[in-house]
């Protein structure tokens, strides 16, 4: 038996991974008997960088923790700072924040459905969902000025108003998306090859999900009713009509359905928010320095609960800023899901938690990039390349 056991490294570079990290799998034939997780390949010391920048600069740095859930991180950051400052954003700003956050959730979930399709070799689905995602991205560009990294928030409000000519566009986009979402749900139910790859794969039982502190759609697909938007409402979520979507399948298929159902909830919320957009100013003035104190803020990012902790010291820079992106919370459960599965299921199980390695590692635009670099820094690499190829 023992000679048939061998280890396969998945990562740091692997086609199933969109970003680098490493899981060392111990295989017996095709069956996985152990998985070891190693992160940090894109760690660039974001938390340290946050301590060295002003609160205004940090607005854009936290956004770059993750390109896909940029809004979630920024929202979490401004909520945190606003609580420390003791100010509150005006209602219109709260609604706009909610709208952008939900649009982002749609874009993230659509992206995920595509990636999941790609992981099981269903490239056509990938192309279609990403094509539909364009609608959201175009809306985003119109509302915030950029397709990703929206930079919507400022401390004390939002930076751009939603004008009346944008509302019909949003509605049109939503109508089209609604149709597509219905189609994808039908497809996921009807397409046998998807069912074959997803049902009963990557099981995470409810009690395991609770014990391993899973968050977001991963937890909700294991029938854990946990959603920050409900238990700790921020922005305008206390006024939004929506239900927490759960599924008791506990497998990859359940995670697919949870996300597709959430898309519908997002559309519902967006329609409500657009119709009930309150009048008024979009921001209040905020001082540059934050009084000493500490605060924790939570936001439901598309991938799950995102938690930020800030300790301020009265200056214009934070004393300590801690970010925990949702993916890190799901890694522990991931190990549980992989063990006992098959090598062929690794990509889809991995994808099912919608991992975002950079999020986990908190990538950052840090000028001292070699500060946390791996074996080589940029200069050494350049030298090596020149030597290797003789200029």
């Amino acid at each position: 038996m023992s000679e048939s056991i061998f280890t396969v490294p998945v990562g740091p570079q692997h086609p199933a991974l969109k970003e680098p990290e490493n899981i060392t799998l111990t295989l017996d034939g095709e069956q996985i008997i152990d998985a070891k997780i190693r992160l940090g390949y894109v760690h660039r010391g974001g938390e340290k960088a946050l301590e060295n920048r002003t609160y205004v600069q940090n607005l854009y740095l936290v956004e770059r923790v993750c390109g896909i859930c940029a809004m979630a991180h920024q929202l979490c950051y401004v909520n945190n700072i606003e609580a420390l400052l003791g100010i509150e954003a005006p209602p219109r700003a709260k609604y706009i924040r909610t709208i952008v956050a939900e649009l982002e959730r749609i874009h993230s979930h659509l992206l995920w459905v595509g990636v999941a399709g790609h992981e099981i070799g269903f490239d056509t689905l990938f192309m279609y969902t990403w094509q539909d995602r364009e609608i959201v991205l175009d809306l985003m560009e119109r509302i915030t000025g950029n397709r990703v990294l929206h930079a919507t928030n400022s401390i004390g409000g939002v930076r751009r108003d939603i004008t009346s000519d944008m509302i019909p566009l949003v509605k049109k986009g939503l109508a089209h998306l609604g149709e597509r979402v219905k189609y994808y749900r039908k497809l996921a139910l009807a397409e046998r090859t998807i069912a074959k790859r997803a049902v009963g794969v990557g099981i995470l039982k409810t009690q395991d999900a609770i014990a391993l502190c899973a968050v977001g759609p991963t937890a909700r697909a294991s029938n854990v009713k946990r959603d920050v938007r409900k238990y700790d409402p921020y922005s305008a979520y206390d006024e939004m009509p929506f239900d927490i979507v759960t599924n008791d399948g506990c497998d990859v298929a359940a995670r697919i359905f949870v996300r597709i159902d959430e898309l519908e909830q997002c559309a519902r919320m967006l329609e409500y928010a657009v119709d009930h957009l309150p009048e008024g100013p979009i921001k209040v003035r905020a001082p540059r320095s934050v009084p000493p104190g500490e605060n924790v803020s939570l936001v439901e990012a598309p991938r799950g609960e995102d938690i930020h902790y800030c300790k301020s010291n009265g200056s214009d820079r934070p004393e300590r800023y801690k970010i925990r992106a949702p993916t890190l919370a799901n890694w522990a459960s991931m190990r549980k899901m992989l063990i006992g599965g098959s090598m062929a299921d690794v990509p889809i199980v991995l994808a099912a938690i919608d991992p975002c390695m950079s999020c986990t590692d908190r990538i950052a635009l840090l000028d001292s990039r070699s500060g946390e670099s791996w074996a080589w820094n940029y200069e050494q690499l350049k030298r090596y390349v020149q030597k290797r190829y003789g200029e």
Partner: protein, 147 residues
């Protein structure tokens, strides 16, 4: 709410609705964690390390219902040892590894404290998020290690 824990709780603060901060002695951590877990706080959202100058502070952010309980415990920098809570809440495993990487807090009884984020070749003794390590100093140290 938790004042039942007697003198071990050195500080308790309800900072704003749904946010509770609490400081406990490092020796009673396991005991307090058991107690809190029985009360339903089984979800560790994350763990934050904090450099207080002469000592290190580890904050456990726990969530139950709609309350976020931040349990703080302080250890001296010269001997940063804490007992692990993996036995109580398995989900804390990766967070403990992360705090170990970044602050050098040793969690006794943890199954595998190998580096999670820092590279294998990382020179020992550098804990990047401690305040005494400035970005330039880390850079210089790394260059030295690589030759």
């Amino acid at each position: 709410m938790k004042q039942r824990f007697g003198s071990k709780v050195t500080e308790a603060l309800v900072q704003r609705p749904r946010r509770v901060f609490m400081t406990i002695g490092s020796d009673t951590l396991t005991e307090a964690m058991w107690y809190v877990a029985q009360k339903g706080y089984r979800h560790v959202s994350t763990m934050t390390g904090l450099d207080l100058g002469q000592s290190l502070c580890v904050i456990y952010h726990l969530v139950e219902g709609d309350v976020v309980l931040s349990l703080k415990t302080v250890v001296p920098k010269s001997d940063p040892k804490l007992s692990t809570i993996v036995g109580i809440i398995p989900g804390a495993e990766l967070y403990e590894r992360e705090v170990h990487d970044m602050f050098g807090v040793i969690f006794e009884g943890h199954p595998d404290l190998s580096p999670l984020i820092l590279p294998e070749k990382w020179p020992g003794g550098i804990y990047p998020l401690r305040k005494e390590w400035k970005v330039e100093a880390i850079k210089a140290e790394l260059d030295k290690a690589q030759g």
